[in-house]
Every structure is written in structure tokens, then in C-alpha cells.
Symmetry: C2
Subunit: 316 residues, 2 copies
């Protein structure tokens, strides 16, 4: 396929899944040296990039549509974690030789990517396609808008804040173990892993707060909570009995403690928030305290257990 044909297959796949190429802030979509956007007045821009690399973040056997969905969901989740709503996305796609000549495969990848964008109301404003000598990877850059001064930075936690989680924990970790065990196909019970939903639904409740720190749980609570605490110069006490749990039947089939999975598991893209008061849609898992920056005291059922580090993707 020529580069033009490849790009046409990609854009057609994304459009077939409901994604637009312009609209909202995007005035000029794919096809020029750069996309053009009209930034909304009274807003700041949140800007992020996220990578999905074959053999590290996914396996080809999971299916190209699922891979596209996962890559888009992970990138957009960073916008939700800043309290931003999406303006557009760019996809930098590295394609190995066998995919360069596979327009149906490229279209499936684009359908998955486009479907997640469409669900978030986010245009595919452009991107880049390049040959790669080895594997498939997707690097997704996303832009969002957040009302001036209302971004949910991770350095905003203060002693006395409640620690809140919006979304399930440990589910993607269980689904990954289930897939890797060879007992499931990629379409069984693997929506949390393969079709993560950026939690834009939770953003309005967070924007209504006078102050909140937030990040999305991509690497797991065990790794990500200390990041929020260090950025804010605070410590925390967590009640492990209060963690939102993954599917207990799946945990039992795998012989895994669902609570440990909730503490260690990554790629759930739930939101972790520190805020002065409860927030609808979130469960309280602990409190921010003064103390050594980043230190976590784990109480309840997991207290005193020796637990490994958090999530480290498929190739760890």
C-alpha cells in the first residue's frame, strides 16, 4: 500500500467507528503539515502523550481493534485526570512490514481507536504513519480544555483530605492474568483491560470542588498513590478493607486475592483523588496525613503483608 492508501484506510476506519476528523475546536484535520485548532476562551489546555508498544503494553494476539481501543483510552484518561474535556487526538503509528500491506488490519486498528475517541467526543485531528523494522506501536497525543485555574494537579493534596477512588481497581490485572493463562480469548471478560473508559463522567463532580488533587491509576494504587503524595509533600493512611474490588469470581478462578489485585493492579484508569469532602461516584479509601512525603500506611486486611511492586505491563 502507498502511504496515501494507508492513511485513507486509517481515516476511513476511524470514521466508520463514529470518530470525526474535525469539529469542536478542530478547524483543520488530517492532511496538512499540522492540524489547526481554535482553543476555547477562558480555558487552559491539558496536553499529554501516551505510548502503547507491542510486547510491552499489548500482544498482537489480543486483536487490532482492542489494541486501538486500549491505546486511545489510556491517552484520554490523562485528560480526565486533569479535569479536562477532550479537544482532539493525534495518532503516531509505527507499523511493521506485514501491517503496511494489510489495509483490513489497519482499518480494524483505526476502528478500535476511533470508537474510543467517538465515545469521548474527541476528533482524530491528525497523526503520522511510519514503517517500523520490528513491531507495532501507537503513540497518542491528546489535547483537552479545562476552565482557567481549575486543573486537577497532583500537587494539591493537603493533610486532612479524604482519599477517594472513582472506578474499579485490580480488574485489568485479573483480566491480563486470565488472558495470559490461555484460558480466555481476548473477547471474554476483558473489557477493563482492552477497552478502558476514560472517566470523563466523573469530571463535573470534581470541577465542582474548591480544591482537589487527582491522577489516573495507570500503574496501580501501590505505585501511583505515592506519586500523588510526593508531589503534594504529604503522607497517607489507607484502609485496605475499603478498596473497590475487582470481579471476585474471576479472582477465585485465578487463585488470586482480589484485595491484593486492587492494591497492586494497574491499567484500570480509575481516578485517585484527594479532596476536602466526599464526591459523588467515588469511594473513600483513606486519608491524607502530614508525614514523610510519599509514605503510605496500609491498614485493614492487607496490613503487614509483603506485597510486590505495582503493575509493570505484560513483559515484566
Amino acid at each position: 500500500m502507498s502511504e496515501d492508501d494507508l492513511i485513507a484506510a486509517l481515516l476511513e476506519g476511524a470514521r466508520a467507528a463514529g470518530a470525526t476528523l474535525t469539529g469542536g475546536a478542530v478547524r483543520l484535520g488530517p492532511g496538512d503539515d499540522a492540524a489547526l485548532l481554535a482553543p476555547p476562551a477562558g480555558h487552559e489546555l491539558a496536553w499529554t502523550v501516551d505510548d502503547h508498544i507491542e510486547g510491552i503494553h499489548f500482544r498482537r494476539a489480543w486483536g487490532l481493534e482492542a489494541i486501538g481501543r486500549k491505546a486511545a483510552g489510556a491517552a484520554l484518561s490523562d485528560l480526565a485526570a486533569m479535569g479536562a474535556t477532550p479537544l482532539g487526538a493525534l495518532l503516531a503509528l509505527h507499523l511493521p512490514a506485514e501491517l503496511l500491506s494489510d489495509s483490513a488490519g489497519v482499518a480494524r486498528l483505526a476502528r478500535g481507536f476511533g470508537r474510543t475517541l467517538a465515545e469521548a467526543g474527541c476528533p482524530l485531528a491528525g497523526g503520522n504513519v511510519a514503517r517500523h523494522p520490528h513491531g507495532l506501536s501507537l503513540s497518542t497525543s491528546a489535547l483537552g480544555a479545562v476552565p482557567e485555574g481549575r486543573a486537577l494537579r497532583r500537587d494539591a493534596a493537603r493533610p486532612g483530605d479524604l482519599l477517594l477512588v472513582g472506578g474499579r481497581l485490580g480488574q485489568a490485572r485479573l483480566e491480563l492474568a486470565w488472558l495470559e493463562s490461555g484460558r480466555a480469548g481476548p473477547t471474554d471478560l476483558t473489557d477493563a483491560l482492552l477497552a478502558p473508559t476514560p472517566r470523563f463522567d466523573l469530571v463535573p463532580a470534581l470541577r465542582a470542588l474548591s480544591r482537589a488533587a487527582c491522577l489516573d491509576l495507570s500503574d496501580g494504587l501501590a505505585r501511583d498513590l505515592p506519586r500523588l503524595l510526593r508531589a503534594s509533600g504529604v503522607a497517607a493512611v489507607v484502609d485496605s478493607g475499603a478498596l473497590p474490588l475487582p470481579d471476585e469470581a474471576l479472582a477465585a478462578r485465578l487463585g488470586v486475592d482480589p484485595r491484593e489485585a486492587a492494591w497492586l493492579g494497574g491499567e484500570d484508569y480509575a481516578l485517585l483523588v484527594a479532596a476536602p469532602s466526599p464526591v459523588e461516584g467515588f469511594v473513600e479509601i483513606g486519608r491524607v496525613v502530614a508525614g514523610s512525603p510519599g509514605q503510605v500506611t496500609l491498614e485493614g486486611p492487607l496490613a503487614g503483608r509483603s506485597l510486590g511492586p505495582g503493575f509493570d505491563h505484560v513483559a515484566s
Copy 2:
């Protein structure tokens, strides 16, 4: 190295080369879920992504600092081609195992990347670092600002326009051949290839025009000119005797016709413009005419010669 140490080495390398992490529009740089920018009033945003992949766009032997410079220059060039000035860049870096533990190497890469950003006054607002099972790659997303309605789109050429080139042509192609011949080290005579300069210096003269179409010559005039013409629905007549030429001594040493190199060569990141009148800093190479969209009539010394397609990167 831990991920935190890697990121620290990267940011320190970029800062050592003079790059900033915030400033201008960038209010929050690396370290949160996303960077935060305050878009300038009265402007549109130009937003692009560009990839540099080992074995396709560069070889590791060229040196990590040069690779960083080349990747940043190519991405920023897309902003210049839209008539935009840079607001910030994000670097998505895929590192193979041996670089994950090489903080000095990562710092050299970051120094090159940061030096080109610093020269353009462009903060390194953030990015992402990920392991890659095979090679090194850099995916650079860049944001720029262009006064409302003044973007230099490639669909703006009209019959009667002059075709103008700002910058040298064919030089990167010669330097690549020189490097690949094994007769030169990566620091001899290879600045066009390894340290491309985004032509922000030419932007003010282009913004002063009432109308101009523009793109940057990344794949060579032979490939890129038809893209501009097709986007505008026009044809062109080019005087091959008027092309700005590369280093003729180097061409002679390689036994290459410098004029053919100027027509076919890519990665020079010169600007190609169609405009109603001459522009300072540009040379006139032909005219836009009515005709089959994308068609080019080559006059002068190259007329009637059978010439291969344009530039196709190192692995072609």
C-alpha cells in the same frame, strides 16, 4: 535505572542544552498527568506529531545527540510550515534495554533534542518514556500558535502564483549518501541531515503576505510539490535550472548531479511556498498553473530525464 531516574536524566540533559520546561504559554511542565498551557489570545493552534525510528530515519551510529537534534528539528519544521511559532513540545521516547540503563546516553539524546528546542524558544513541556523490545524511537508532538486565520495551509495555491523555495535543497540527501559511503564520520559536513533548522526565521515574511500556501520539504520536492498542488487543485511548471543547489564539491565527490539531488532529496526542511508575489529569503523556481491537480512540468536541465521517486529515508 528507575523510571524516575531516567526522566530526571532526560530533563537534566535538555536543561543543560538550554531548554526550559515551562515558560511562555506553558504553565505546568513535566511531572503531572498532562502539561498545562495558556493559549495566546487571538491565535489558532497548530498541532503536529513526527516520528524518528531507528533503522528507518536514523542509525544509532550517527550519535545520540545528533539523533535528538534531528527529531526535534523535523517536528518543529511542521510548525514553521504552518506559519506558527512554537509553544511547546512533548517527547514520547521508546528506549531499548541497553539505553534504559545508560543515563549518559539518555542525557546526550536529551541534550540534542533540548538544544534544537532551545534555539527555537520552545519549552519541553512533557512526554513519556517507555521500554521498547527492539529499537530507539522518538515521537515528537509540537504545538504552535498562528494569528487567527493566518495559517499557511497547503490548499491555498492559485494559478498564477509564484513557486518559491526558502532554504537549500538536496543537501541532506548528499550528506546521507556521504555518511552511508563510510567516508565520513557523523560530525563532518552533516549539519543539514543531522541538525535541521526549522525555518521560523522565514515566518514573518510569509505572514505579511495576503495569501500563501506552504509546506516543508521533508520528502523532497519531487514528492512534496505534487502534494501541495493536489491539495490546491492546481498544476505547476518548474524551472529545474532555478533550484537552489546543495554543496557542489560534495556532489562531485559522490559522483551525483547536484540538480537531481535538489529535485529528489528530502529532509532538507526548506519551505515550499506558492504566493502571488516574491518573498524575501525565497528563490523563485516556477509557477502555479491551471491543470490536472498535482501535475508538474519540469523545464530546464532536468526536463525529460527519467528520475526516480523522492527521498525514502535510510532503509529504502
